[in-house]
Amino acid sequence: MLDLGLFYFFGALAVVGAVLTVLARNVVHSAVYLITSLLATAGIFLLLKAQFLFAVQIILYVGGIMVLFIFVIMLVNLEVALHQLRFNRQKWVAGLLVLALAVQLGIAISGGSDTFGLGMNSSGRLSPENTEQVGQRLFGQYMVPFEVASILLLVAMIGAVVMGKKRI
């Protein structure tokens, strides 16, 4: 009961935040709404018993990526952006096509929910030592992707620094 209430609360917060992100005129407001949506997603992770991911989402996404976004928004702050058109010329066709895609995916989920037992409650086999389990998987079975991800981060760091320089 409390679970369902929390799910609807966080879910509504995430969706409302996302809608306002896409619709806001002021880019900083958009970023704040995205932060709200990401925090709500972290709450969803906590509901799904993914405690480590909850903390990682807040540290990395909200505390890292969005700070980067806000820095860049403030560096390229344009007063004129507040008076320009928000949406481009293809908005109606694009919106329609995306909604068609969404309807298709929705049909896929609801149609397949019997096959995978998606309508039932979950197996509930996750244990409280979530961090230990994630650590064991990450450094055991998924060691190679971990190393590749670290190389990716190194490359991204170099790329971002080069992109930010005034004279290369």
Binding site: V28, V32, A55, I58
Partner: protein
């Protein structure tokens, strides 16, 4: 105690009581930490500090709070009103949320999370938004620059602080505050003895995290007016100030939990040293004695009475603590609670005193020096510290050495790397200055 047991069984009641106590006490405590800082600053500058408002200035925080509450609330004209209103709230919410995972005593903890330390780091990372959004919403150049500088400083030192915490967590084997403290009491050594460089890195990084001197370039008055807080006045500024001091107490709490043994006494596992339980009582007795000795020598009658009362209070606390230390086994829970609270407060107080000591001793870092220290010295050192502690733990596991002996080579290695980094990365200023001096002469 049946009522107490019943209440503790409702597992929402005790956390609620703890939360209410913390939220109620914290603004007052932060105010008195400000007074303590002003008194310490005065002491180090050979003067007396606030003495007028109330005896020995003890009512100064209340006067300050009243003044800030009745000040006019000014919002700049073109400021973004919603974000202007939201930014201080974000700061103080992030600072206060971190209190929910800290253990102030054996029973006085709001939530025993098994990702406790990670939760505190995550929530403290949210405090950055109070700074950057506040600076932007003020619609002022100084505020924006101060906010961007402050944010850059905080996120740079967050990495080093996190790595230092990781090295401590490796020693503890868990992220939960209760298990970290159990690891320290069962091993006998506080982690500051096993991992002193990690403690040092966390000390420096936490000073930079909370924008305290010598890393307070973004809010120094001679530099950027008041940085991101320039346009905030009255109660909004008080909220920012409360957030800053609450943050200080949080990082002191984290350092105490992870490195200084939390609310346990030194060498808690060795029964032969049980007499150390009496240390808080004896120290307070000494303080009471000093108060009674100085009380007759005060010039003003109000100060005499205040000192005598304070001495009496210290005497009472000393009696309570000694009684708790001497209590028989059946009162174990109450005994641990009282003594644990005293030890935790003492350690947090010592950490905060060191913050204040550093503030009034070291000159301010220039912003590029600050960033250089963070990126070129602290982050490599913290990474090397993690690797070295890992190596030390392998030595302990594979070769069966004792923990202290196994980590000794690790610490020596990290110290050597630190010396190397200081010589090579941080010494370039000297080269530039020497070059300029050479040019000036020649």
């Amino acid at each position: 105690m049946a009522v107490l047991d019943y209440m503790l069984q409702q597992n929402w009641l005790w956390p609620l009581v703890c939360a209410v106590v913390i939220v109620a006490v914290l603004p007052l405590l932060a105010g008195y930490v400000v007074l303590m800082e002003r008194k310490v600053m005065a002491d180090m500058q050979a003067r007396l500090g606030p003495m007028r408002v109330g005896p020995h200035g003890l009512l100064q925080p209340i006067a300050d709070a009243l003044k800030l509450l009745i000040k006019e609330d000014i919002i700049p004209q073109k400021a973004d009103a919603v974000i202007f209103w939201l930014a201080p709230l974000l700061s103080v919410t992030a600072a206060m949320l971190a209190y929910s995972a800290l253990a102030f005593g054996p029973a006085f903890q709001i939530a025993e999370l098994n990702i406790g330390l990670l939760f505190i780091v995550a929530v403290s990372a949210m405090g950055v938004y109070g700074i950057v959004l506040g600076g932007w919403a003020s619609n002022s150049h100084y505020s924006l620059l101060g906010a961007l500088r402050s944010t850059a400083q905080v996120i740079s030192y967050e990495t080093a602080a996190g790595m230092a915490l990781i090295s401590g967590v490796m020693l503890a084997g868990s992220l939960s505050t209760r298990q970290i403290m159990d690891a320290q009491t069962s091993a006998g050594f506080w982690f500051v003895l096993l991992n002193p460089i990690g403690f040092f890195i966390y000390l420096v990084a936490s000073i930079a995290e909370t924008n305290r001197a010598p890393f307070d370039m973004p809010e120094a008055e001679s530099e950027l007016v008041a940085g991101y807080m320039t346009e905030y006045s009255g109660f909004r500024w008080a909220i920012y100030f409360l957030a800053e001091y609450a943050n200080m107490i949080v990082v002191a709490g984290i350092a105490t939990t992870l490195f200084l043994g939390g609310w346990a006494r030194p060498f808690a596992s060795i029964a032969a040293l049980n007499f150390l339980d009496y240390i808080p009582g004896v120290v307070l007795l000494g303080v009471a004695g000093y108060c009674f000795y100085r009380a007759p020598k005060q010039p003003v009658a109000a100060q005499k009475i205040t000192l005598a009362l304070f001495g009496g209070l210290c005497l009472l606390l000393a009696v309570i603590l000694s009684g708790a230390a001497a209590a028989p086994q059946q009162y174990q829970a109450a005994r641990e609670g009282i003594l644990g609270g005293a030890w935790f407060l003492a350690k947090v107080g010592a950490y905060l005193y060191s913050f204040m000591w550093f503030r009034f001793t070291f000159p301010r870092f220039r912003f590029d020096q600050l960033m250089k220290l963070g990126w070129y010295f602290l982050i490599p050192l913290s990474i090397v510290n993690v690797i070295a502690i890992g190596g030390g733990l392998i030595l302990e596991k594979e070769m069966g050495w004792g923990r202290f002996m196994a980590l000794l080579p690790a610490n020596v290695f990290t110290l050597a790397v630190a010396w190397f980094l200081v010589r090579n990365s941080l010494a370039q200023e000297k080269t530039v200055a020497a070059g300029l001096a050479g040019e000036a002469e020649g």
